[in-house]
Every structure is written in C-alpha cells, then in structure tokens.
Amino acid sequence: AQSVTQLDSQVPVFEEAPVELRCNYSSSVSVYLFWYVQYPNQGLQLLLKYLSGSTLVKGINGFEAEFNKSQTSFHLRKPSVHISDTAEYFCAVSEGSPGGYNKLIFGAGTRLAVHP
C-alpha cells in the first residue's frame, strides 16, 4: 500500500525567509501528488498538484514543488514566506485501484508557523 511521510511535524520560520516542507512517498507505480493547505478553522484547499510532465510544479500563493522520482519526494518550497502562510500543509498521493477509482492518501501534516 502507498504511504506518505511528512518529515517535519512543525516548521518555524521568520517572515520573508525561504521555507521547504518535505514529503516522501512509497510506491512501486506511477503516482499523482498533491499539496493541500489548511488555514486555521477551515477546510483544506488545493495548493498544487503533479500529474505528469514538468517535474517543477507551480501553485497558488507563490508555492512550488518538485517531483523527484528517484528520491520518491515531492517537497514544497516558497522563497519568501508571509505571516499569512501560517497554516497546516498536507502532502497527498493517489493510490490507483483496478476499479479505476484513485483514493487519496494524506500525510500527517506539517504545521508552518511564520514569525515576524
């Protein structure tokens, strides 16, 4: 079965500093990869996704992620964070099934805390 590991449960960072949130997955087949963000007291919303093509994916709010097949990683980056980026970030991988429905498997989440 596929799994997703988010290596850091919490990442503190100062405003305007760069940040990287790490995500590794296990899979023996092709995967689709996602990053979702959850702002306080809200549901999740999609930041970006990788389905195929260019391994560098750009998302909303200045975030980007790079798919590395050999490292089975999909790390999320932002060159300069704002206070408003304080949120929980979830990496997710889709799991294929013979019936054609691809379930989404979520990591445990990384809490990004941006300090002034």
Binding site: S9, Y32, N41, G43, L44, G96, Y101, N102, F106
Partner: protein, 114 residues
Amino acid sequence: DAGITQSPRYKITETGRQVTLMCHQTWSHSYMFWYRQDLGHGLRLIYYSAAADITDKGEVPDGYVVSRSKTENFPLTLESATRSQTSVYFCASSEWDPGRYEQYFGPGTRLTVT
C-alpha cells in the same frame, strides 16, 4: 450559498448516542467523501461515494454509516458514539476522479464525545 457546507459545525454528545453529521454540496459533483482528522494522523478516509446510491468503505469505516439518496447530500451517522470518535470531520467532493482532480472540502465539524 454555492459550495460545500457541513452541519453542525460543533457538536458535543454522550457515549452511546447516535449522531448524524450533514454534508451538502451545490455543484452536483459525482464523488463525495468523509474524512476524520486527528493529530498525528492527518486525514483518514471513512467512507466515499462515487454517485448517488453508491458508497464504499475507506480506511476507518467501523462505527460509521453513510447513505447517499441524492447527489448533493452525504450524511455520516455514528450509530453509537464512542470517545475514540472524538475528532474533526471533513466532508469533501470532487467532480472527477479524485486521484487526479481537486477535492473541495467543507469547513469541518468538530465532534466531542463525552
């Protein structure tokens, strides 16, 4: 209002009681999902539905029941609530294959079982 809504937003109940969490979406999306969010576990899929009258178990279905008689509604029932079911519950929907396309999440229901 357009979108996906959940009710109630907060609920406190006692062990052994039956509780139903409601989910309504206005987009006519085919797929709907129920997740629970617990610290250290991220989101875990409870049940999902690919269309009206089609439902299937996810990763943690025990103690939960779902139904989907209409495309827009997907209620989740805890038949006899237990303390281990204290959690934040999220409903989501997706127009197409959720493994490839965006899932849209509701605001969540915070359930406390005493």
